[in-house]
């Protein structure tokens, strides 16, 4: 446990020294704030640009608060996810290629600790950034559009946070399986997109599909987006998949660490 804390402290320090601990939360903050603000001012923007007749502009309905929050989640799920994947794509492969991993793994350090310390730091930065952006989005939404239900906001935070954690774990797994960081980022994002598309477009129920998580988060906020299925199996499968990915990543370090 003490070694684990030492490893985690190193990861945290690296996040800080590489400024990721600053620019990632700021990016999420910007994403979170921009959604309610643009939604609020959209009619004005359209009117002042003069491209549309007045009555058309006036007939554009102002979205309700829940729809705006759901829109923010969509931003986090695309650009935010991309940023997180880019920031963790080299977590293991870079250390392997440069040889720093070998310097650490000859010490009495368990492979699982090495991986889970990285994983915990990815989760920490993901949750921190997402929470910052989400809370900011919530604040502006409430200010500009009126209140949103507290429980559904918290459920949204938890489901979506779990989704980000799942994709972050995939990035870590691919980063330990593949030597190219770009391939790791692409692999994790592609798999995430695939699961998401499957969850929303295949004609049968998939209560096990982690790709449903973002839908669950949005569905709590905006009933129109809900698929009505239950959540517990999705959460359980996601947690199991995360544990399995960590185990696999640790296994891949053993024995055939290169260079």
């Amino acid at each position: 446990m003490r070694t684990w804390l030492v490893l985690f402290r190193k990861e945290w320090l690296e996040l800080l020294r590489s400024y990721r601990l600053i620019w990632l939360p700021i990016s999420f903050l910007v994403l979170g704030v921009s959604q309610p603000i643009t939604a609020y001012f959209l009619p004005d923007i359209l009117a002042s640009s003069g491209g549309l007749p007045e009555d058309v502009v006036r007939s554009i309905p102002l979205p309700n608060a829940s729809e705006v929050m759901a829109g923010s989640l969509q931003q986090f799920g695309t650009i935010g996810l991309l940023l997180l994947a880019l920031s963790s794509m080299g977590a293991v492969s870079n250390e392997r290629a440069s040889g720093t991993a070998a310097m650490i793994l000859v010490k009495p350090v368990s492979y699982l600790s090495f991986i889970t310390a990285k994983w915990a730091s990815i989760l920490a930065i993901s949750w921190l950034s997402f929470a910052a952006g989400y809370v900011a989005s919530w604040y502006y939404t409430v200010t500009l559009f009126g209140s949103v239900g507290g429980p559904s906001v918290i459920a949204g935070l938890l489901y979506f946070g779990l989704w980000l954690s799942f994709v972050g774990t995939l990035a870590l797994l691919f980063s330990s399986l593949l030597s190219s960081p770009a391939a790791a980022a692409f692999g994790s994002l592609a798999l995430a997109a695939l699961l998401q598309v499957a969850a929303s477009s295949l004609p049968f129920e998939q209560p096990w599909n982690p790709g449903r998580l973002s839908q669950l988060a949005a569905g709590g906020l905006d009933a129109a987006l809900s698929d009505g299925g239950s959540a517990w199996l999705t959460v359980a499968v996601t947690a199991t998949a995360i544990a399995a990915a960590l185990y696999l990543a640790a296994r891949s370090l053993q024995g055939h660490s290169r260079s």
Partner: protein
Amino acid sequence: MALLTVERLVKTFGDVRAVDGVGFQVDEGRCIALLGPNGAGKTTTIRMLTGLLRPTSGEIRMEGVAPGQDYRGWIGYLPQSPAFYGWMTGREYLIHAGRLCGLSAKEAARRSSELLERVGIGAAGKRRIAGYSGGMKQRLGLAQALIHRPKLLVLDEPVSALDPIGRREVMSLLGELKAETTVLFSTHVLHDAEELCDDVLIMRSGRIAVGGPLERIREQDRKPVLTLETEGDAGSRSWLEGWLRRLPDGIEASSRTASGVRLAARDLDAARSAVLRELAEADVRVAKLEIGQTTLEDLFMKAVGNP
């Protein structure tokens, strides 16, 4: 008492048998040099000893450690090209390494300051490693290998990145360490190995060509050798030409350069007086005359030279 026993160690990469049935023992308190040409399998062997690479087959046993149990805490390892987190300072890295080996925060900090001084980069300890030179990294690598007072110190070419002065410093440091712990190091500098080690292992294409205590190997290969170097002027050269053609009985040339020759003799004393007499008579401009037994270089050449 053997601290480390290696038996029938094999590592294959696809078709390449990088290490092909290596076996040796490392006795406690000894200093062992692992020698061999490029690609002989030194690094591969060392990486298997440190647990970084899983052997294809064979056995590695550490004294007092049950088979299959983790002995990494007993080993200090400096890779051929050590890599660090560039964003850390040298001191931070040492503390990190020390804490991973189970030292307390206080102990790790104390050891770090001590080792930074000892390897000669005390002043750079507060600087980011990204700004270190290759030699400084090599020294930091040595310090991190020593941080937890390992029972076995494994060094892969510890001096290859150093300038001649740095090499001398690190070699004398290794000389001190030799008294404190067991050391296994690979090197291409035969002179260093000769000066420092008790045992040698000379590898060739994945196998151990020659191995054992340096003295014993020399004993077995005792063959008096004379090395003669002239200044290379015309007179000396033509004398050398002529003399080599009428070498006295019991002396033969084993290799020669433009200005010098290496001679093997049956009877060293007889050969010595013959050569000295000849040199005085012909008034040769001698630059160097070495009369002694086989050097490690001779042994090395013999072991790996001609297949």
